[in-house]
């Protein structure tokens, strides 16, 4: 069988077998609606309540502060719009490198009369907490900052930003989709008022996610209907998904520390292998405060999509920093915001490692990339190749 190596864990992860086992009964014998008063419903309600308690413990919060949603995008929409619409008018602070779930939501709010400040980041993708402080206005109603960036893995100084937010009485929303279950999060210690998290980045199911909402935070629901989730998010709970999300969290709380250390070492092995063999490469993102399994690497003179295709043909899954959609390629807005020249940004490839990644996998990938990049560069007009 052909060898396959999956290095796209920031996009999604396989469901852990224990998670799947925990979910299965809720597709079968426990099928009641948690809102129903009969035994079938109560059994489902108990499972949802248990899951909520598990996640609350993991975050250092109270169970009633956890709201289940259908995904990270919904959580981000709910968090940012929920805060803004509760006030009706005002100002939001965010950064230029947020996920589109936050950026597009902010743009939609601008269309409704809200004002948004998009803060710049430095060349490592790091937000300066002083910039947050300087951007605050009397009518600032929310600060929304991601915990770690999905493309480059840079971790933001959330605790410092949280302290500023608290000092000025402005709620802080944190998109933690890429960090939840990977590095420690304590909503109390970090001064977080709302936190988006998702299951499928941590070996849980897709379609199961949540938003932590600090008790007393003034916000409104954005999805209306029944009185689910304490009237904060209407819609029958995705019981199997919620159970799976909690099971994934249980596993992460056991494995997270050791796994972060292991992945950091593998990530460094990958980068050392690449830079040792291939000239004109560059590692993007913070050198130290970076997600354990994430390495964003530029291969100069080559378009990233051709590397993704070449590696795919070798059974290796990675993701391109630039994507050609319907014949249009835009360099990554995250890399551009970090001041990386466009011709470099076009050759950026993201490697995101995970539970299944081994040292042999990493070595196999390095072995495969070297001749691929050499061949692509030979044909590239931005470099003088060998002639015959």
């Amino acid at each position: 069988m052909r060898r396959t190596v999956y290095l796209d864990h920031n996009a999604s992860t396989p469901v852990h077998p224990e998670v799947l086992a925990a979910m299965l009964p809720f597709f079968g014998e426990v099928y009641g609606n948690p809102s129903s008063v009969h035994g079938f419903g109560r059994a489902a309600r108990d499972a949802v309540d248990d899951a909520r308690a598990t996640i609350a413990r993991f975050l250092g919060s109270r169970p009633d502060e956890v709201v289940f949603t259908s995904g990270g995008t919904e959580s981000d929409n709910f968090g940012v719009k929920g805060l803004a619409l509760a006030r009706g008018a005002g100002h939001v602070i965010t950064s230029r490198i947020e996920h589109h779930a936050v950026l597009r939501t902010c743009e939609a709010l601008e269309g409704q009369g809200f004002e948004v400040t998009y803060l710049s980041v430095d060349d490592q993708g790091r937000l300066d907490p002083d910039d947050v402080k300087r951007a605050l206005r009397r009518d600032t109603l929310a600060i929304s900052v991601m915990h770690a960036n999905s493309e480059v893995g840079t971790i933001q100084p959330i605790a410092e930003i949280g302290a500023i937010a608290r000092e000025h009485g402005v709620p802080l929303h944190v998109d933690a989709v890429q960090t939840f279950g990977k590095i420690p999060i304590d909503v109390e210690a970090m001064g977080i008022d709302l936190l988006s998290f998702s299951g499928h980045k941590i070996y849980g199911p897709k379609g199961a996610a949540g938003l932590y909402v600090r008790r007393g935070t003034k916000m409104v629901a954005v999805q209306h209907g029944g009185e689910h989730e304490r009237r904060r998010r209407a819609g029958t709970e995705n019981v199997p998904g919620i159970v799976g999300l909690a099971a994934a969290v249980e596993i992460r709380s056991r494995e997270m520390g050791g796994e972060a250390e292991r992945l950091s070492a593998l990530r460094d092995r990958l980068w050392d292998g690449i830079r040792g063999r291939i000239p004109e490469t560059r590692l993007n993102g913070a050198k130290v405060a970076r997600l354990p399994g994430t390495a964003n690497v530029v291969f100069r003179h080559v378009e990233s999509e051709s590397i993704v295709l070449g590696l795919d043909l070798k059974g290796i899954a990675v993701s391109a920093g630039s994507a050609c959609t319907a014949g249009n390629v835009e360099p990554s807005y995250v890399l551009v915001a970090m001041g990386i020249p466009v011709d470099w940004a076009m050759g950026a490839v993201r490697f995101s490692l995970g539970r299944s990644t081994t040292a042999e996998d990493v070595d196999y990938v390095v072995e495969a990339i070297e001749p691929l990049v050499a061949k692509l560069r030979l044909a590239s007009p931005s470099r003088t190749p060998v002639t015959t």
Binding site: H301, V302, E303, E305, S306, L309, G310, L313, C324, T325, A326, G327, N328, V329, M346, K375, L376, L378, A379, S380, P381, S382, T384, P385, V386, T387, T388
Partner: protein
Amino acid sequence: MRYSPTLVDHFLNPRNAGLMRDADGVGEDEYAGCGDLTRVFLRVRAGRAAEVRFQTYGCGPTIAAASATSELARGRTVEDLVTLKPEDVETALGGLPDDRRHAADVAAGALRNAALDYLRRRDGGEAGRPGRV
């Protein structure tokens, strides 16, 4: 796989990739939508493309299209090269997805420009220069 085996083969084993020094004709074309760029070099003997080389910057299909074009062009008269159609390149690749058709346009365009450059030089005009290096 959304690409044909022929396309994949051209991508993995590009034919005639690289610079040609003292070419008789040089042409470029690019697709502004995604920054794809292909440059074609021709060596002409007795009115035919005796040798064809290319350089390209772009996604997999763009590289494959340039490679296939270099094979299609070889041995043809220069006049033929001017009229080679993107559809011919696409056929030679075993098809292209809709959102990658520009790969064939860029390759055929670069070949046409190289052929026109040769004809201009032959007829006493100035040698064309690629717009971007």
